[in-house]
């Protein structure tokens, strides 16, 4: 605030007015000092990513409404899996709702587009999307951005290791004809090559396809030892059903994108024996007692199922839970530096998020650093096999 009373012998009225304005301004600032913490959320609760966005949205209702004695308001907007809407949402959240932190969005393209707005307004943002590009490398803009889901690379490494250990020599790949399948192809083909796995077929299909006969015939003709299906949710069941129908006897791998109960329902007996990497929350009850993730993962599962029914939990909601967990742990530290609603608080919250160590979430243990805004290690993934229509941890 500029001190304006130094105008000395100037117009008295003008001075009075400025003092009044200054006083009003002070009142406004001090009013804001006691403001609540505002958390802005943009999730993809409708559109193609709805099966991920809906459990995330549900999970957000389970987050605490007070942190360190401060009331927390959640302003939840739906971005309909649309990039333009996601940017509109974050602009609205920051300019109109004056949020202190943004959680979102569900999918990678939306999250990438939101980075600019978050950095411009110096608001910390926690993404629930998977791509490592969202937080890597941590540059001037991505300083403000954090994310909770495991990188595809971590998951792809787990699959390749499992394949190599199981004696697989040749592998076929079929993935979504979109960013998800393409991202997996990049990661998987690079890691597989490094581990001397031979990729004999590479196919694509659309999540809305009603038939994959052509692709499956081509995969089948290449006679691989194992096939990786890189799809998310129930659409990933289609190639697997077609492969079984064709009589494919090799190993089938799926990605962590299928880890919800709807996939088991749709795929049924055809998915028996399938391997996939997943966040530990999927098999929370089977984790060994000394696993540090077990307690927090179980807490999340029991809270979610109490609110939304037994068997309703999915790993996607776990990413929202982890975003909330990071925030809950960072807010008390940031409150020491400033009051919610101020730029100081937002900056302190960013610093506090970056300084988080050994925070246990549903998907793993977070150790943030100035160069790593994900902070998950190998404790954030387990190999799981589908046995008897249920998820079974591979020991």
């Amino acid at each position: 605030m500029r001190v304006l009373i130094t105008t000395g012998g100037g117009d008295k009225m003008k001075i009075q007015k400025t003092v009044l304005a200054a006083a009003l301004g002070m009142a406004f600032v001090s009013g804001a000092a006691f403001a609540d913490i505002n958390v802005g959320v943009s999730v993809s609760a409708t559109g193609p990513a709805a099966s991920l966005g809906i459990p995330e949205k549900n999970t957000l209702t389970l987050l605490p409404t007070t942190i360190a004695g401060q009331k927390v308001n959640y302003i939840v907007l739906d971005d309909a899996s649309d990039t333009t809407t996601a940017v509109k949402n974050i602009r609205k959240l920051i300019s109109e709702d004056k949020v202190d932190v943004v959680i979102g969005s569900t999918i990678t393209p939306n999250s990438l587009a939101m980075i600019d707005v978050a950095a411009e307004s110096k608001t910390p943002m926690i993404s629930m999307a998977a791509s490592s590009k969202i937080v890597d490398p941590v540059d001037e803009k991505r300083r403000w951005v954090f994310k909770t889901p495991q990188n595809d690379q971590q998951m792809a490494t787990a699959i390749v290791s499992h394949m190599v250990d199981a004696g697989v020599k040749t592998v076929g790949f079929i993935g979504f004809a979109d960013a998800y399948g393409e991202g997996w192809w990049e990661q998987f083909s690079a890691i597989a090559e490094a581990r001397k796995l031979k990729i004999v077929a590479n196919e694509r299909y659309k999540r809305s396809d009603t038939s994959v006969t052509g692709q499956v015939l081509k995969l089948y003709a290449a006679k691989p030892d194992a096939i990786l299906i890189a799809g998310a949710g129930t659409p990933a069941a289609l190639p697997q059903k077609s492969l079984k129908q064709r009589g494919f006897a090799g190993k089938i791998y799926q990605t962590h994108g299928v880890a919800n109960n709807d996939f088991l329902r749709v795929c049924g007996a055809d998915c028996e024996g399938t391997f996939l990497p997943a966040g530990p929350v999927l098999v929370a009850d089977q984790l060994p007692a000394d696993n540090p993730v077990r307690a927090t993962a179980q807490e999340y599962v029991s809270k979610y199922e109490a609110a939304f029914g037994k068997g309703s939990v999915s790993t996607f909601g776990g990413h929202a839970w982890d975003a909330g967990t990071l925030m809950v742990n960072a807010v008390p530290v940031a409150l020491k530096a400033g009051q919610p609603g101020s730029p100081e608080f937002r900056a302190a919250l960013r610093d506090a998020l970056e300084g988080l160590k050994e925070v246990a979430g549903a998907h793993g243990i977070f150790n943030m650093s100035p160069t790593d805004h994900l902070g998950l290690d190998q404790r954030s993934r387990v190999m799981v096999q589908i046995k008897g229509g249920a998820w079974q941890m591979v020991k």
């Binding site: 099966s51 052509g214 919800n260 709807d262 749709v266």
Partner: protein, 345 residues
Amino acid sequence: MDLEIAMLLGQDGITNGAIYALLALALVLVFAVTRVIFIPQGEFVAYGALTLAMIEAGRLPGTVWLLLAAGVLVVALDGLDALRRGGVGRLVKVVGWNIVYPLALVALMRFVPTNTWPLAAKVALTMAVVVPLGPMIYRVAYQPVAEASVLILLIVSVAVHVAMVGLALLFFGAEGSRTSAFSDASFTVGPMMVSGQSLWVIGTSAALIVALALFFGRTIYGKALRATAINRAGARLMGISPALAGRLTFMLAALIGALSGVLIAPIATIYYDTGFLIGLKGFVAAIIGGLASYPIAALGAILVGVLEAFSSFWASAYKEVIVFTLIIPVLVWRSLTSHHVEEDE
């Protein structure tokens, strides 16, 4: 590529093509009679498939509530008019069809364990829920603007499509469903295996096409629809109500859509938004037929299905590109061979 693969792909293409053919026929029919480009045609596929899946799962499908809500709207629009023109008897009829009937369905599904019924009964129940939505949607969305230009009707179609997809997400959730197969049988014909379900799809499609041909050729209602399609004003002068023709057309479109959904649900996972893409491929076929010719549209649909199957084998990443690019040479050819007529009369 050997013969076996080619035959398998051909079988797959013809099965999908049969579904596209049904949808293409419905699109041509709706356009001919009402000048509506019926984008929500595909939604009836998803509604049919997912309603059946919910009945199988023993849950009350949200579509019956939509039926009830649409029925209330129709009564609100038509009730007073019916009372004025036809007295209490006519009003009772309107209320009976639009409110009592949906309520009866709700009661039936709530209190009778319909999930233990045989499959045929479940399919009939699905039809009973989804098909009346067609005429109701016509009454609420299209009839008030029936005389508007093709462009305005198209805009209404887009609005109805968006509303129906949104409601489907609400009713059925984001994840897909499959239903149990009509037949698990499979036959070996020479070197290839034919699944019973594909025979069902192809057989039902063929039977429906024959039934439609008989309906348009032999019945008074079918002839009335044909008359309306050929000359709207002339048909009106002959005493054919355009509103009745519209509702009848939409009922047929809903019937074809829902039946396609029920047929395809056991061989493909259906999502709340699957219908649009299936409908769009039917639309490509309908365009091949110039939105006017039924046999060319049906052949075009088979072509789309087979092209799709073979392109998924050779260049799976470009499958949709290849299918939808087909429309360009067709449009060029059509615009070269036909005279351009300014449509809006």
